[in-house]
């Protein structure tokens, strides 16, 4: 049982009346489908995602090329499948670092308070005063355009989101009876944090992981589009859209399909976040 449910009917007020698990299930199904496409898809297509074949450039969608070909004669469907690998990888690594670091910092700051906590709050104030995207781009700029820089940049900027979420839970929880009881019977500080505080404080962060995955994918593909993320000729959805930008009037399929892919994957993660929020009784 989570302590959150004792705190009052947080989820009940003003929430949408909806069949609970539906969004979670649909969302999970979408994400799993993309995972399968990323893992197995490339095995089923005969085309190369990168090799240039100018003889077959800008072909309309047909039986041979289900989603058409781009200006280099590359099969859009093939690149879409390889792109799923990159964008899913982005969602995973872009979220994992901030989640782990932020959770640990938030747990420590919330539990011990004092000067480290005050410092964390000041860092938080400063970080949220930068437009998120602008700060990420600025850091990528200083490092050098590319996926690794994106991960570093996200980790530097975004751990504070998780630290804030965990900290605000821990600050309430450390006064709770079960934590006082744990201290009283002589359980060590570290074990109290890892076995008693953390499991009860983590729900909002877990929900945020999936919202964050949406932002990470949208941001990562935006960087790819701007030429600051994954570099061409690699198959990444944002890069593909940038390549299709010149052909909007003549070969719409190059830019349209990768965008649908991003939106669908993002929708999957959004739905999971929405369903989890209901399930774990955290406010949306």
């Amino acid at each position: 049982m989570s302590v959150g449910s004792e705190a009052g009917p947080r989820a009940a007020v003003g929430s949408w009346r909806l069949r609970l698990p539906a969004t979670l299930l649909v969302g999970a199904a979408i994400v799993v489908t993309w995972l399968l496409i990323a893992m197995l898809g490339p095995a089923f297509v005969a085309h190369d995602p990168i090799a240039v074949d100018l003889a077959h450039a800008l072909l309309r969608p047909s039986a041979d090329h289900l989603l058409g070909t781009d200006s280099y004669g590359r099969d859009v469907l093939t690149r879409l499948m390889y792109g799923a690998r990159t964008d899913l990888q982005m969602a995973f690594f872009g979220v994992a670092g901030p989640f782990v670091i932020g959770t640990i910092v938030g747990l420590l700051a919330g539990n011990f308070g004092g000067i480290p906590d005050a410092v964390l709050m000041r860092i938080l104030d400063v970080t949220v005063s930068f437009p998120y995207f602008v700060l990420v781009i600025a850091i990528v700029a200083v490092l050098e355009p590319g996926l690794t820089s994106y991960y570093i940049s996200l980790t530097l900027v975004n751990w504070v989101s998780y630290a804030r979420l965990v900290r605000s839970e821990v600050i309430v929880l450390r006064q709770a009876d079960f934590v006082l009881a744990a201290h009283t019977i002589g359980i060590g500080e570290i074990r109290v944090m890892s076995h008693h505080l953390l499991p009860n404080a983590i729900s909002p962060s877990v929900v945020f992981v999936f919202t964050d995955a949406v932002l990470t994918i949208v941001l990562g593909s935006s960087l790819g589009f701007l030429g600051l993320g994954v570099q061409p000729p690699a198959a990444e959805w944002g890069v593909m859209i940038a390549e299709g930008q010149l052909y909007l009037a003549t070969a719409w399929w190059i830019a349209v399909f990768p965008g649908i892919a991003i939106s669908l994957l993002a929708l999957g993660f959004s739905l999971v976040a929405d369903g989890l929020a209901k399930l774990l009784h955290t406010a949306p």
Partner: protein, 312 residues
């Protein structure tokens, strides 16, 4: 603390945040690869010239002193020289301020209009199909990449229907409004879901509040209760969200200005990154951050002015 004291004290709270912002932007340029002066002066600069510029920007001093010089320079509106644009950074940025501010305000106005319309439509009958549709839009809208959405709008409204220009800024006000409509619409579609979630939830909660029930039970019409009592009471939480939203909008301009070729600060930032013009990146980042801080500041003051209950 009374209201007056708050108005006096709130600006003081800006100081640590502004110091933090200056530190971050300072460190940003410290992290960049290579010698900034060599980058600034180009590969053929003489050692003598490099030494002079180093001394001018205090780069031959200890790092803490350098930070001090940076602060002094920023306060004198000296952000260094742009290598790519061959002009002071401040001039390059100011020349691109107007399009960005227009786009931000335009985008904000559209977002607020959409948010109010969608939230009211959804909250009048919670759970009905309108509500469900708005809800779906809120969930899906978060994941619509603006750069792609912008391209789709260009494809549909500019290339096919020829209703709006593909890119540019415009000269007169009507012309600007016409040029910036699609970019502003793109930004608004990205921001509306966040605001709508918030306003709709508040409207639903407030509709069930005691004062609303009391109003209905003494025979006031549902419309009267909703628009005269519930709606005004629901606005504050959404207004206090505006600081975050402006930060989101600014992030949106970076992408949208590039897609629609609007000559603003966002587009400038992307170009500067690609050209490795670090002082422009630093300057734009600083400008945007200060903009967000000042917006939050104004929002706080407005919130206090509007709500007599706010505890200070």
């Amino acid at each position: 603390m009374d209201r007056f004291a708050f108005v006096l004290r709130r600006p003081l709270q800006l100081v640590p945040v502004l110091i933090g912002i200056s530190l971050v932007t300072f460190i940003l340029v410290q992290l960049m690869p290579g010698d900034p002066v060599r980058v600034m002066l180009g590969p053929r600069a003489s050692e003598e010239a490099i030494r002079i510029v180093r001394a001018r920007y205090g780069l031959d001093q200890p790092i803490l002193l350098q930070y001090g010089y940076y602060i002094v320079n920023v306060l004198r509106a000296d952000f260094g020289r742009s290598l790519a644009f061959r002009a002071p950074v401040i001039d390059v940025i100011l020349a691109r301020l107007v399009p960005t501010v227009c786009l931000l305000v335009y985008g904000l106005v559209l977002s607020v209009a959409f948010t109010v319309a969608l939230s009211i439509a959804a909250a009048r009958r919670p759970g009905a199909w309108v509500d469900q549709t708005v809800r779906l839009f809120c969930v899906a809208g978060l994941g619509l990449p603006s750069f792609w959405l912008g391209l789709m709008l260009i494809m549909l409204f500019s290339l096919r229907l020829k209703l709006f220009p593909v890119s540019g800024f415009g000269d007169s006000l009507p012309d600007v409004l016409w040029h910036l409509f699609l970019p502003a619409l793109t930004i608004a579609i990205a921001v509306t879901p966040i605001l709508t979630r918030n306003l709709r939830a508040t409207l639903v909660t407030q509709s069930a509040a005691d004062y609303a029930v009391a109003g209905r039970s003494k025979g006031l019409s549902e419309n009267y209760v909703f628009f005269r009592h519930v709606f005004p009471n629901s606005l504050l939480p959404t207004i206090s969200l505006l600081g975050i939203v402006v930060s989101f909008l600014i992030g949106g301009t970076v992408v949208v200005e590039t897609v629609f070729n609007v000559p603003g600060m966002g587009q400038l930032m992307v170009r500067a990154v690609l050209l490795r013009d670090y002082f422009i990146v630093q300057g734009v980042t600083l400008f945007f951050a200060v903009g967000v801080v000042l917006t939050s500041f104004v929002v706080d003051i407005v919130t206090v002015a509007l709500d007599p209950r706010v505890k200070l």
